[in-house]
Point group: C2
Chain length 233, copies 2
Amino acid sequence: MIGDCSATYSGRASSTLDWGERLVLVKSDGSVVIHKREGYEPVNWQPSGCIFDTLIQPDGLLKIRAIRPSSRESLDIRFRSVFLIVELNLADRGDFLLYASEEDMKRAIVKYPSLIEDGFRPTMKEKRQPSGFIDVFGLDKNGDPLIVEIKKGLIRKEAVFQLGRYVSRMREGNPRVRGMIVAPSLGKGTAKLLKTLKLEFKQLSPKTCLDALQKERRARESMLSQRLCAHDD
Amino acid sequence: MIGDCSATYSGRASSTLDWGERLVLVKSDGSVVIHKREGYEPVNWQPSGCIFDTLIQPDGLLKIRAIRPSSRESLDIRFRSVFLIVELNLADRGDFLLYASEEDMKRAIVKYPSLIEDGFRPTMKEKRQPSGFIDVFGLDKNGDPLIVEIKKGLIRKEAVFQLGRYVSRMREGNPRVRGMIVAPSLGKGTAKLLKTLKLEFKQLSPKTCLDALQKERRARESMLSQRLCAHDD
DNA sequence: ACGTCGATCTCGAAC
DNA sequence: GTTCGAGGTCGACGT
């Protein structure tokens, strides 16, 4: 729908959106998105799972209420005028594939541990901890425990602290426990922080991991690029 | 635009989206959003700042390329068929107001420190620290330093650790430093964690803060609610 | 339901 | 520019 509307949200916070022309998507899975003329993000929204209550008020204004029972949130949209309403049943069976996620790096490291360090033997993926997960856990060539924290982007202090907590906890039992951050690059102050907490850093990019996995990927990728990129200039 | 399209993204990661019917928003600020029939989030997108390159390929397919120079990312959209194209110049001068954010709580506490504790005198907001910010800093009625960490939602362990780091650092210089979490509620394991780290908890809801601030807000709010909610059922 | 974490997170603000 | 923390984050996965 496109039209002159206003909106009020109430739930985890409250918001009011004054009158103006916007584009509103109401989807069959119970999600709502209100887009202003600018910006990637919607100004108001409701994730899927909403119950809709649509009515024409006594004064003639169209009102759509989207209530999400699970989180007790509600979004009210009122239309003063409507320029366009389109109702669609989109036929969409096209697959979406994303490459080079952190999960890809994890899989590459478990499959080819030498990406990290010679002699490394991973024993567990997603090891449960009192507070949180360890990405990869294993033993180094000397048999010492090695905790690996993987990030696909720049390392920030928060990630170092996260690993630091796991490691310090395990060092209470065994002071030889090693902690290692694996990522393509380090943020500014993180190098010193790593040193302070006696943690290590191994540079590794998602691309390198992808390349390592490419043998199994090649078939699928070439198939896709044939279909999708055949018409590229 | 609504039509049968496919898309490839390349940048921080890579993705391919196979043919299917979707809704595509192309905005004048250089942002793009591709929505499938379901889901609150777009399947593909590009934040604002894109340069567009639109062309009809030799084979007759419409192709839109959105390149974001700042982050060297590109999104290619190809249309096999187009059901609808609408070009709009939305007139939207309506304000968006969000209430009960963490910022609101901060402002309420600085203005009415007794919300936290009698005799509390805040001295700084957003105090810079070696790693991160302190929301509110001040002296209690005994003159001891009090570090306040504000959250508007449920407290998670991460927030406790964050405060713990600030406090332990400051306790090196002065062991009487107090640390306090201010939030509407505590997560499951956090009460024990607070005790361990010798931190305190003060229950305070965003709503209470809003009420405290309402004297100054009332004028604006009543104005808005008159305009927006006059037609409510 | 809660807890944790990744994300093409986005966005803003500070340095 | 980079770094950093917040978000009505969302979504996924596990307990």
